[in-house]
């Protein structure tokens, strides 16, 4: 191994350098890139996991797009984005807007509590909320207490309410994260910008839209990418709370992938749905980056 290359000769490539990245890339290629390529290949086949794979071209994709249950599962994912992304980001922004220049004691404790849902297994979170929404759980007991017995019901067993109530769990998981992210961002905005806005006679609302919001662009991109991808993946929480039911009212693509591949033995179809989900996430992440970066 030569260490003489402090002058960095451009002509000679030192291949021994690649030994440093080799172990990491071996794992990455074998357990991420290869399965992705394999899934892509399988998505053009009909396969039950045992017999010969049969090449069917784009049939699986066409079937998936024509399957009403699958298209509605994608629609459910978009509804969940409202609960996982839009609501937490609005809550976080509003609170960050109020918190400009407020310095209070005990911030570290509040931060530690608000961040708590981020560190726990979604299975644990799901079990806690299953109890809250249970027929005799805290939510219904609370409603009964206020004399609203007619409103109380088995929330996760209801065709109309299961999806938004699962969504609210996502809001609960995410709002602390967006609050912490945005408050940290607001505190980095130079106070001169707010002073200048004050001199110009800006009220609280115009201050929010002209100073706070544009300066939080980086944090908003992060929050959007993080929460939107989670809303679209979201397997654990759906699995433990509703399993996609009642009926298919809370079915989402990742749950369909699991059911198709491991319960219905439709590996080709599951693979094509996996590729569709991947493309959807890549597209949305690119869109977020393009839309928010260009407005600089």
């Amino acid at each position: 191994m030569s260490t003489k290359n402090i002058y960095r000769p451009q002509s000679k490539i030192d291949y021994s350098l690649y030994l440093y990245i080799l172990p990491a890339f071996i794992f990455y290629i074998i357990f991420v890139l290869f399965p992705l390529a394999d899934t892509f290949f399988n998505s053009f086949t009909q396969w039950n996991g045992i017999s010969e794979k049969k090449w069917v071209g784009l049939d699986q994709y066409i079937n998936n797009l024509q399957n009403k249950k699958i298209t509605s599962s994608i629609k459910h994912s978009f509804i969940l984005i409202i609960f996982y992304s839009v609501l937490p980001i609005i809550i976080g922004l509003l609170i960050a807007g109020i918190m400009i220049r407020v310095k209070i004691n005990g911030m570290a404790t509040y931060r530690a509590i608000l961040f708590l849902p981020q560190i726990l297994s979604m299975i644990v979170v799901g079990i806690a909320w299953r109890w809250i929404y249970a027929p005799k759980g805290p939510l219904n007991s609370g409603l009964d207490f206020f004399g609203l017995e007619e409103v109380s019901r088995a929330w996760l067993g209801s065709f109309d309410y299961a999806l938004p109530f699962v969504g609210l769990i996502g809001t609960w998981v995410m709002f602390g994260f967006t609050m912490i992210l945005f408050i940290a961002g607001v505190q980095k905005i130079p106070t001169e910008l707010y002073d200048a806005a004050k001199v110009d006679g800006a009220g609280a609302i115009s201050e929010f839209f002209n100073v706070t919001l544009p300066n939080l662009k980086g944090e908003i991109i992060v929050a959007l990418v993080f929460t939107v991808t989670l809303a679209l993946r979201n397997f654990d929480l759906i699995y433990i709370t509703t399993g996609g039911g009642p009926g298919t009212s809370t079915m989402i693509p990742s749950m369909f992938i699991y059911k198709k591949a491991f319960q219905m033995n439709q590996v080709g179809s599951a693979s094509s749905l996996g590729i569709m989900l991947t493309l959807l996430i890549f597209t949305l992440v690119s869109l977020i980056l393009i839309i928010f970066r260009d407005k600089k």
Binding site: M1, T3, I6, I13, L17, Y18, I21, P23, A24, F25, F27, Y28, I30, F31, V32, F34, P35, L36, D38, T39, G49, I98, V102, I104, A112, I113, L114, F115, L116, P117, Q118, I119, L120, S121, M122, I123, V124, I127, A128, W131, A134, K136, G137, P138, S141, G142, W172, F175, L181, V222, T229, R233, F235, D236, Y239, I240, I257, Y258, L277, T278
Partner: protein
């Protein structure tokens, strides 16, 4: 009350309300788990006394001693191998002039955004064909691959913060690259590596889908998987025992969080912003 004080009161009220909303589900299952066994409790009853019977029942019936042990084995394998490989790679990317950094990073970026829900089917059949399903390896190996992109990005940003003058001086004196990494750079990287360890521990501990697919034997289940079977089988059974089981599974991460919460938060918030 002057303007400043009123602002502080508003801030405290908002944070208190937020904290209550976050903590309510935890306290509600904690009360449920500590309640008298067999006694029906509703959401608003404060327990009449503290009973640990549900915790004992959950531990013995749910197989959580093996679940927690399996989870620790998997976490240890994933975290140690990932940190080792990613440190070497991040060092080469940041401190050694390696050709082709841009395309290699583009390749890693795929893994950062990729929903692994879509590739688990292929992983399952690969593991099965090598007779590795239902083993620790079927959980450890894929999670190393999945953890590597984030880890390299995170460690590379930390290497960047160390001034080049340090390593270049040693290089002129003819020190070997590996010696420079171990003797000069690693001591400075300890805080960053510790934060990454905490994050990888949490993500690996909480991983569920891979375990659900790969593991068939009850003795091989990880803690979250054991919990899901327990909760699923007793869906109409005793919610108090399920609640106690959930607390068993959450406990290791919670304990670490209490001591190292700053690392969790700074790791996830700054780690995300850096990207």
């Amino acid at each position: 009350m002057n303007y400043k004080n009123r602002e502080k009161v508003i801030a405290h009220s908002i944070f208190l309300l937020g904290s209550l909303i976050v903590l309510y589900p935890f306290f509600s299952i904690l009360f449920l788990a500590l309640s008298e066994p067999g006694k029906r409790i509703s959401g608003f009853t404060v327990p009449s006394g503290i009973y640990f019977d549900n915790f004992i029942k959950a531990w013995t019936d749910g197989g959580f001693s093996s679940g927690l042990f399996n989870s620790f084995v998997v976490v240890f394998g994933v975290v140690s191998i990932t940190i080792f490989c990613s440190t070497l790679a991040a060092y080469a990317f940041e401190k050694l002039d390696i050709l082709g950094v841009t395309p290699l990073f583009a390749l890693l970026l795929i893994g950062l955004v990729l929903p692994y829900e879509s590739i688990v089917i292929s992983l399952y059949y690969t593991m099965k064909s090598y007779n590795l399903s239902n083993t620790y390896w079927s959980l450890i190996l894929p999670q190393i691959g999945l953890s590597i992109p984030f880890s390299i990005f995170w460690l590379r940003a930390s290497f960047k913060a160390i001034p080049n003058s340090l390593s270049e001086a040693a290089m002129i004196e003819g020190a070997d690259r590996l010696i420079i990494l171990i003797k000069i750079l690693l001591p400075q990287m300890i805080p960053a590596i510790l934060t990454l360890t905490v994050l990888l521990f949490m993500w690996t501990w909480n991983e569920f889908l891979l375990a659900l697919i790969m593991i068939q034997d009850a003795e091989m289940r990880t803690a979250p998987l054991a919990l899901s079977y327990f909760a699923g089988n007793k869906r109409y059974g005793d919610p108090a025992i399920t609640a106690a089981a959930a607390i068993w599974v959450a406990l290791p991460v919670l304990i670490i969080y209490i001591f190292l919460q700053r690392r969790f938060i700074s790791g996830m918030v700054t780690g995300a912003v850096k990207e």
